[in-house]
Amino acid sequence: MQQAEPEIIFDDKIEQEIKIEPKDWMPEKYRQTLIRQISQHAHSEIVGMLPEGNWITRAPSLRRKAILLAKVQDEAGHGLYLYSAAETLGIGREEMYDQLHTGKAKYSSIFNYPTLTWADIGAIGWLVDGAAIMNQVPLCRASYGPYARAMVRICKEESFHQRQGFEILLTLGKGSKEQRDMAQDAINRWWWPSIMMFGPPDDSSPHTIQNTKWKIKRFTNDELRQRFVDICAEQVKVLGLELPDNDLKWNEERGHYDFGEINWDEFWEVVKGNGPCNKERLETRQKAWDNGAWVREAASAFAEKRNGL
């Protein structure tokens, strides 16, 4: 009876939508779930800089370059907000980096696809950031305070990411035939991986029920995916382009768009590490960490000297 008391208080807070804060008692599984989710989210922001970073030096104008730099810098910031939120749960920063570099921790599979043309930067902003926003907005109400606060900050910054991507595609769509084809090709390659970003279908998503009970998750993977498809199916018309799905059709009865079968085999292959860029992404992160060692040491040495330690 006495042992159960903190659990009752915890459940009661969740029930009443009172945020859980770092020093509050929480079930060990809640803590572990959050550490896993927040750190994987942080890793996704950090690895997510790589496909876009690929185009910074080759952006077609100074305006586009400044925008892309600002966007990629935001993603670095998002990673940092989230790492520090995860640290409030008792995991160390370097421990998380280590989990990323050794492949123990996952990051969003979408970043294991290559950015082949400038139009990919448009498609990423529109679709990948778009799907991320759809996932992230409900997380602003997640039951764990530091996570929810980090998400509020992130969501405020995300909307320009999606708009700049859409604008790139809009511009290409009004351009030459070659430019239109390039935009369409980028959408063709990014569409399916983007709708996979919501995760496996509800009937094979084992954590959904518990995470919903804990109010970490507010909507199921399929609910969010459907909402995203409905929005994109309309937005693509403004671009004068198409989504690569012959089964995409408005369903009057459901009040939603029907869409084609998702290739979940591909999804699980990429999760397992067999996507087009998994190896390259991890190697790049590991190299950045190793090559940064002297900077970290120099900063520590300089701090000691400056502070007379």
Binding site: K23, A299, A303, N307
Partner: protein, 93 residues
Amino acid sequence: MNEWPLWEVFIRSKQGLDHKHVGSLHAADAQMAIENARDVYTRRMEGVSIWVVESKHIHASSPDEAGSLFDPANDKAYRHPTFYDLPDEVKYM
């Protein structure tokens, strides 16, 4: 190698307002923490002043003691102006 210490970051968003906690970050010393905080927390003019405090120097009350700390204020409604019934003709009070 030792991990850089953790710093809590507080930002004054506008002259005249309090500094408010915004998050934390790692840095080798206070000055670098301020420089990092500039990049991490004020990319959109969110601040006019930054405080950083090494996290280990923050002492917090324990959630377990919240009752004994804060409950005593609960039954002192007479600390609030609405506790007092005054006739309607009293103005400006």
